[in-house]
Symmetry: C2
Subunit: 641 residues, 2 copies
């Protein structure tokens, strides 16, 4: 195996400096565009007004234009009469002042006593209610400097200033080349799921959308197999075709088929390979015939971070814009987070306002987990010299959504249930304002999140083995003295999920100890794990006798996937998960899944909308359609504390 | 004259509630788009994954795939040998695990002792370095809810989840109808300045760009003259053509030619006319055959406020998006601002970080002054029940530019000089990062702004009548004990600006007292006013003998405009202003225009870049090209305090 190594990993700052030094002064040649179409573009030249606005002294009111001098002396006791067409000229807002007039009296102050005579009871002063020529814009003055990004407002000012076209920087053209023999192009996608070992090529579409969001033009190259000579030929050709940047996706890390470095060094020169960021470490930048070539990591979150940190600033400077980092907000991590010294980590978090604090809940998942960023509301950057985050200590967070949206996010932390997805969808469909953000850490995790005041509510299904009751005794024990409301969400079936056709003939919990039967468990603290342990104890089964008892998954769906993919023969979970993946299901118990709501937030529009959603007929119908649920007590208050 | 009155002015909240109640649940019918093209669009249906990602257990490392069990027992003292193709299978990141394997050992931990034999010194645990099937996305799970606005990241997730197209809400089509007999369409613009009394129709282009920025499709109607029957016919027709909203520009206020209300009431029903906001008061909304019709004020800033407050939320809800208000920042007004009780005022301000505070400097100008918003960095909303702002008390400000850009803005307050425009342009051309924000309040205004610490620097040209020196004695007197640097910007000519050809034969200050000669003055506290008073005193002239002495303008250019438009025969000002408007110029004095910089900000990138700009050859050449300037000491330190 021939292998690359990151010989010279550099810091992000150094990487950005090298990019800026090599390409920062480059601009796309200007083009002329109609001012009406220029919003969003960046001026390549200063704009000086050609016309004044107003171009004449204009009435600022509806009323009569007069010569101020002719009105002097008018008072309540000694009104003055003006003659229409001689000393008084009716005007509307915006009309040019007739010659010889220098003031306007508003219509409310004029008493028309006949068709021609108008009486006033107070004088006008010169230029009263007059918009003077050039009051807004004076011809020859600078309207906007070079580098100004034109807004829709500017469009109005350009036209008013007699500037009907302007010179703006052109849009950068970026060629995106996906590489990799395992990739299936979208155009060849015949089924929803590609055959095992192959994947749909999605990065070029994602990065293309990112290029376009930055005002660039994305050109997508067909997929190239992992053959360095072919890739080299295409890169050389593309550099000659006048692209402003080339992205090679994949092949930038250190595997035996990672050719990006070889391609760049043999076609041009390498600026750097490897940056101390996570995700994004393998990013590589070179210069091929003066064209910047980026080796983008194949893991999507790595590619995103590398793009935003290295390519976005370049696209901004090529377009003449100043690069603006994301807006930040001070947030409080919901828990301690470890991170590696020497690496700047881009931690994806969900955000929500819980009481005074904006709470940040870290999202699990590595560089390959795209949903860790599609579900994120923000990114906490943990600097290289810091080992992690402490719970409860404010840190800055870069926002992926507007701060206002975060203020309207209901934060649920706790057990996983498929109906939470339905709530998330229904609540958005109903109001469009409230969002539900769920983190799945198990029922006890939800209880602890409420205890630490980092969520608005928790979804829990905690069986009390002493009396078979659900949830009540746990709230008493772990959240004494707190004001809470327990509302039922659903009653649901838990059971064993097994492969379609039940090839191992499993009939119940007692079968899990059989030779040749492997199990996949839920994490400690989850209601399902507590349920299993309760049943094992009742049946007198030692958990050590179950193959796979120590193998944890965090959601019903991941247990179902383990069974579907054949890495386990059985797992305990809800009917909805089995049905979603077309598994067989052996019912074990019916249990109660409740929502424990912190009364501090009772009556807020978020909680009200949430309750209205779960109490709606439409929601209940969607739940029943999933199978394995009963909604008889859905939305009812179970207890208040 | 037939006149409308705002019989039922309502609050903005009430106006928004009425709009929401009437049109808030309306959505543009969905359309299917390719996922690759879906960034920015809003989902009209929930998206459930069709494929899992990864779709198989995949290697998360470059290395060898193994069955974990087969590696148990390996240690440094007792290494294990694996056989390529039998117990060890080379894999790269992303590869499918071969059947029978459940773990990956990274290449760095493998010692290849021959072509076929590989030695390991520690065991693998099950699923070590494996991305399990469905780890990112599980088929059938909710990927994004209804109403989710898709980001470029989402594009990647959609493709990975086997969703190649999605149902998104269509874009609202908005018809924009400019009305007004004084309007000249852009297509007929033959000269930069329209003939007096007429104006270029710019509002439809500005509002069209605003519609498009909100994701709508703007259709521009030809200009319609102020004829109610014609306007009515077009509105009825357009409502039948399926537009989602109609904007009538102009004619919404209360003048004799303001037909919008008549049109709406006769074609449909009126929701409201008149909202207690300033600017924007005359806005009118009606319903014609179920289509919302907006009567937009003709003053551009009124139109902008009315659009953003009334139309933007509607366009958001039509497109299924939640409406996000502008981001806000706490700012400190630089001075007291009065406002009217009972009206919500939208005050346009310039922003800059001066020390710890974000200082907000109000911009002069009414609803007709478009530059009051193109130059603004933010808008302070003064609530209806508040009479104004106090200097120094923090208030929230809605941002028109990113907060990061505001942190890089150099705040200059003081006297006006045309070379400030050149600095503004040159500084952007050079670095693209630093912005110059200038407010023109006269030299003494600049000194006072420095005293109140609401600017970084002030442009001043203050003559000391006792010794003919410039600036020094004023700094000593008004800013004692402050650490400041005085840097020369230019030496410049001040003189009398008179009409081309000097028809009144003016030869100097002494001519200003002549009968039939009218003057336009600069405001008290400006260096030019001080200069004039000094000359008048020296010549023994009583200011009361000058016609127009009490008429103030705030900039050289507005004085020049007064002369150009014939409302004054002469004004004192700089050569550059006279030359810009092609006026004759009678030199009176050569004076020194300096920049007084607060040393608290010395050495910051902003001040350094500013000094480098004024010291550059290119800047000096541009200054000299204006005429009436000398740059011999430009950029030199005059004094330090």
């Amino acid at each position: 195996m021939s292998r690359n190594v990151y010989l010279d990993m550099i810091s992000l700052e150094e990487a950005q400096d090298r990019l800026e030094a090599r390409f920062g002064s480059r601009r796309i040649p200007p083009e002329k565009v109609s001012s009406a179409q220029a919003a969003g573009r960046v001026l390549a030249e200063p704009v000086f007004a050609r016309a004044s606005s107003p171009g004449y002294h204009a009435s600022a009111m509806d009323g009569i234009a007069v010569l101020a001098e002719a009105t002097y002396g008018a008072s309540e006791g000694r009104p003055k009469t003006l003659i229409k067409g001689k000393t008084a000229f009716p005007v509307n807002t915006g009309h040019r002042l007739p010659d010889g007039c220098d003031a306007v009296i508003m219509i409310e102050a004029v008493n028309a006593v006949s068709d021609t005579e108008m009486v006033i009871e107070s004088p006008a002063y010169p230029f009263q209610h007059v918009r003077k020529m050039g009051e807004d814009i004076v011809a020859t003055e600078l309207l906007f400097p070079t580098g100004h990004q034109l807004t829709p407002y500017c469009v109005g000012a350009l036209v008013a200033a007699g500037m009907f076209e302007v010179a703006v920087y052109g849009a950068p053209r970026v060629l995106i080349i996906p590489t990799g023999s395992e990739l299936v192009p979208l155009s060849d996608a015949k089924t929803a799921q590609p055959e095992p070992g192959r994947i749909f090529e999605s990065n070029s579409h994602m990065l293309g959308a990112m290029v376009e969001k930055e005002g660039g033009i994305a050109v997508k190259n067909p997929i190239i197999r992992d053959e360095p000579e072919v890739i080299k030929a295409r890169v050389r050709e593309a550099a000659a075709e006048g692209f402003d940047a080339i992205l090679l996706i994949g092949g930038s890390s250190a595997g035996s088929e990672d050719y990006a470095r070889k391609v760049v060094t043999e076609c041009g020169s390498l600026l750097f390979h490897g940056v101390t960021i996570m995700p994004g470490k393998p990013v590589l930048v070179g210069d091929v015939d003066e064209v910047p070539v980026f080796g983008m990591p194949g893991y999507p979150v790595s590619a995103i971070v590398a793009f935003e940190q290295c390519l976005s600033p370049l696209l901004a400077s090529l377009s003449g814009r100043s690069f603006e980092p994301k807006a930040t907000l001070a947030v409080t991590p919901s828990r301690k987070v470890a991170s590696k010294l020497g690496v700047e980590e881009f931690l994806r978090v969900k955000l929500g306002q819980v009481g005074e604090a904006i709470v940040a809940t870290p999202i699990a998942g590595g560089a390959g987990t795209l949903t860790s960023i599609t579900e994120a509301d923000g990114i906490i950057r943990i600097p290289t010299h810091v080992e992690g985050l402490s719970a409860g200590t404010e840190v800055p967070c870069e926002l992926l959504r507007p701060a206002s949206a975060i203020g309207r996010t209901l934060v649920a932390v706790g057990s996983h249930d498929n109906t939470l997805d339905l709530i998330s969808d229904e609540i958005r469909r109903r109001s469009g304002k409230v969002r539900l953000s769920s983190s799945h850490v198990g029922s006890m995790g939800g209880i602890m999140a409420l205890k630490r005041r980092v969520c608005h509510l928790a979804g829990i299904h905690l069986l009390d083995p002493t009396d078979g009751s659900y949830n009540l005794s746990y709230v008493d024990k772990y959240l004494p003295g707190r004001s809470l409301t327990l509302v039922n969400l659903v009653t649901r079936q838990q059971g064993l999920m097994v492969a379609k056709g039940n090839p191992k003939g499993i009939t119940g919990i007692e079968c899990l100890t059989r030779d040749g039967v492997s199990f996949v468990n839920r994490q400690a603290g989850s209601g399902t794990r507590i349920l299993l342990d309760y049943r094992l104890k009742a049946l007198g089964i030692d958990d050590k006798s179950i193959d796979g008892y120590t193998r944890d998954e965090y959601t019903h769906m991941s247990v179902a996937v383990a069974v579907l993919s054949g890495t386990a023969d059985a797992g305990l979970g809800i009917h909805a998960a089995a049905r979603a993946l077309d598994l067989d299901f052996i019912p074990v118990v019916t249990e109660q899944y409740d929502l424990l709501i912190d009364n501090e937030f009772a009556g807020t529009p978020m909680v009200e909308e949430f309750l209205a959603t779960i109490r709606s007929q439409r929601f209940k119908e969607r739940v029943l359609a999933l199978g394995g649920y009963s909604t008889e007590t859905t939305g009812e208050v179970v207890a208040t504390f």
